[in-house]
């Protein structure tokens, strides 16, 4: 059975190779190949899943050792896979949602002449992502980690002729690199501490080293997670990443890749458990991002950017939960999965909308679309209900659990974190309602664009709607299936041991509170956007709004500090290199020339002056000889 694991990765990888090297002759069938291979790895995943369910909880993990990768004195890195419940969860999510989005893309990218390449990249992403979650050591994980980074770079910049896209792609890669730096330092630390970086040995040996070391490792891992999961302070790339085609945003920047950070933290649970300080930092980062994303989401008029903000905030929830330790791990993953469904659904919905609106992204130019694209409306609506945590839908269960856990942290921390989580829930309700209203309700606000062709909103083709429907189902029921009878909890417990948190107030109270803030949030949004007509041109808005529109100014900060500063630094260094380092050398040469020129003058052509020099010479000679004798 375990020999199938490699196939999970191999299938999409093969697809990538074939599609990217295949050349034009594959254009006709490229998308089918890609989709088929994605589906193929999903099927394998299901097979393995079924097989896994057959075993008892403790012996479900599968290992596959392929070959030893970098064998060097005292350094052992293998290409080996590990498939336990945690990985399995991700495998199913990734390959499942991935396949759906492949299908969706067939329709969405229909008119793009580089569709084959698009599917190649998608497959590449799947392969890398699966390797990430299947790796049995941190170094191999690192490969997947950067692999998904590359894929996301390629896909964000897929429409390279748009400078904005190219820049966004570059930015995403660079910010991620900063995170990757964290990961590689973490690996070095592990190597020097444990002499290895395979999950098993490292996580077992945590007891044998100092807390300080573990905290350091944990923080470095957190840095990595921040980069990949767009957490403060490395969140700036996610908004721009929306330059990519919408399926990409759905798959990579909502459902799967961005959640890799959560995976990393949960996977390294033992390390974090042994480093409370690090955990605290994690929770703080989560909390801050949670609000940050939410606030940004409120201000954006670009539908995708709004959703991106929400993604940030939702992942903030997960990170927060992961930071809570054993009481939170399971819920983090659970929310991750449900979020995978509904956020993907929402993005696909958004994509479908744009598809119908000539790729218009400004929600102020939408309005009243529900009549034009019913399927999209319904699926999007379900996703909406799910994300705001409408009772009974996925989001309800997963988010609720996280809020509980946050309170259960205990002490003031518990109250603060819980409060933040609640506040977040409210804001979520607010901005999602806003999106909903601006897009599907009110009267139509779109006009002909400059070259006069007015968008004709229409429902998307079957290939696009079906995935949306499937995901909608997921967003409706997944939560229930997982939560009721703690199925998911029991499923994951063997990997991420679970501790029951005891919130200071009863679970019911928390749930009710959540309901209340939900209603408040949604209500406010309705009051603001549902009742009065929406101005097509955004009003100037309050200071906060304007700041939020600019992603709370962190881009400006980056620009001033990093970009400008960097430019100055490099320019001055270029100058230094040319004048100083090079100047010294050229200076010596020049001075030699000068000296030579001066000495030349002595050779004045007069025989008598030559004689003088000889005479002087012999005088010196004699004097020196005598002197030598004297001393």
């Amino acid at each position: 059975m375990e020999n199938l694991i490699a196939l999970l990765v191999a299938a999409p990888l093969l697809g990538a190779v074939v599609l990217l090297c295949g050349g034009r002759r594959l254009d006709a069938v490229g998308h089918w190949i890609g989709t088929a291979l994605a589906a193929c790895s999903f099927v394998i995943g299901v097979v393995l899943f079924v097989d896994m369910l057959g075993k008892d909880a403790e012996h479900r993990a599968l290992m596959q050792h392929l070959f030893s990768w970098i064998p060097v004195e005292g350094f052992q890195a293998d290409v080996a896979f590990q498939l336990d419940q945690l990985s399995m969860t991700f495998v199913l999510l990734i390959s499942g949602v991935g396949s759906l989005i492949h299908v969706y893309s067939i329709g969405y990218m229909e008119h793009d002449e580089r569709r084959r390449r698009f599917f190649g990249y998608l497959n590449l992403f799947l392969a890398a992502m699966l390797m990430l979650v299947l790796a049995d050591n941190y170094l191999l994980l690192y490969v997947g980690w950067e692999g998904v980074g590359l894929a996301s770079y390629l896909l964000i910049g897929f429409w390279q002729h748009k400078p904005s896209a190219a820049t966004a792609a570059k930015k995403a890669f660079l910010v991620n690199r900063v995170g990757d730096m964290g990961l590689s330092i973490a690996i070095m630390l592990m190597f020097t501490t444990f002499g290895t970086f395979a999950f098993g040995p490292v996580l077992e040996a945590t007891g044998e080293t100092s807390e300080g070391k573990l905290t350091a490792i944990a923080l470095m891992l957190l840095l990595a997670a921040c980069g990949k999961s767009a957490q403060v302070p490395l969140q700036s790339w996610l908004g721009d990443a929306m330059e990519g085609p919408t399926p990409v945003s759905a798959l990579i920047h909502a459902a799967t890749m961005v959640t890799a950070g959560v995976y990393l933290i949960v996977r390294s649970g033992e390390i974090f458990n042994a480093a409370p300080d690090a955990q605290l930092v994690v929770t703080v980062v989560g909390a801050v991002t949670l609000l940050f994303g939410a606030i940004v989401g409120c201000a954006k008029d670009d539908i995708k950017k709004a959703l991106a903000g929400s993604t940030m905030s939702q992942i903030g929830y997960m990170i927060l939960a992961a930071g809570l330790g054993p009481i939170g791990y399971v819920f983090a993953i659970m929310h991750l999965v449900t979020h995978g469904f509904f956020k993907a659904g929402l993005f696909l919905g958004a994509g479908s909308v744009m598809h119908g609106m000539n790729d218009e992204v400004d929600m102020r130019k939408y309005g009243g679309l529900r009549t034009y694209m019913p399927v999209t409306f319904v699926t999007f609506g379900l996703g909406y209900l799910a994300i705001i945590g409408f009772p009974g839908l996925s989001g309800f269960f997963s988010k609720d659990k996280i809020i509980e856990a946050a309170f259960a942290k205990g002490g003031t921390e518990g109250w603060i974190l819980g409060g933040v989580a609640l506040l977040g829930a409210a804001i979520t309700a607010y901005y999602m309602t806003r999106v909903m209203l601006m897009t599907f309700f009110g009267e139509k606000r779109w006009q002909p664009d400059e070259n006069g062709n007015e968008p004709h909103p229409h429902e998307s083709p079957r290939s696009m709607t079906i995935p949306m429907i499937v995901l909608a189902f997921g967003s409706v029921f997944a939560g229930g299936i997982f939560a009721i009878g703690d199925r998911f909890l029991h499923w994951l417990e063997p990997v991420t041991e679970h501790a029951h948190g005891h919130p200071p107030v009863s679970a019911l109270t928390v749930t009710l509170a959540t309901m209340v803030v939900l209603v408040i949030g949604a209500g406010t949004a309705y009051v603001q956007y549902g009742r009065r007509p929406m101005p097509v041109v955004a009003p100037r808005g309050s200071l906060l709004t304007r700041a939020a529109r600019r992603d709370l100014l962190q881009d400006d900060f980056n620009h001033v500090v990093l970009v400008r500063g960097g430019e100055h630094l490099t320019r001055s260094l270029v100058y230094v290199d040319h004048t100083l380092v090079d100047g010294v050398v050229n200076g010596t040469a020049a001075s030699m020339g000068g000296l030579s020129g001066r000495l030349r003058k002595l050779q004045n052509g007069y025989a008598r002056s030559y004689a003088v020099s000889m005479f002087g010479g012999v005088a010196i000679l004699i004097a020196a000889t005598l002197l030598m004798r004297a001393v």
Partner: protein
């Protein structure tokens, strides 16, 4: 009388000759100064020969004269040809090549 005095004389002549080489412009004169130096050497040879009581010095003196004569032949030839082509025997005029 102490032969050492002849050495002093020789040294004096030699110095005079050398100085002449350094300060006189006319090639012929310069050359004569060189000859003077050679003769100073001869004087020294003879004196030393006298002091050491062997004949080597005197023999060398004869050799020197011959060499000096040879030098005169060659030297004058060169100087004269220079003079004929430049109508001047000044060594300072002959400074085409410098630096």
């Amino acid at each position: 009388m102490n032969p050492v005095n002849y050495l002093y004389l020789a040294a004096l002549l030699f110095t005079i000759g050398a100085t002449g080489v350094l300060i006189r412009r006319n090639a012929i004169v310069v050359f004569m100064c060189v000859e003077l130096m050679l003769n100073a050497c001869n004087l020294a040879f003879v004196t030393f020969s006298r002091m050491h009581g062997n004949l080597d010095g005197q023999v060398i003196a004869f050799f020197t004269m011959v060499v000096a004569a040879a030098e005169v032949v060659v030297g004058l030839a060169i100087i004269v040809s220079l003079f004929r082509s430049r109508h001047s025997a000044s060594v300072d005029d002959a400074s085409l090549m410098k630096l």
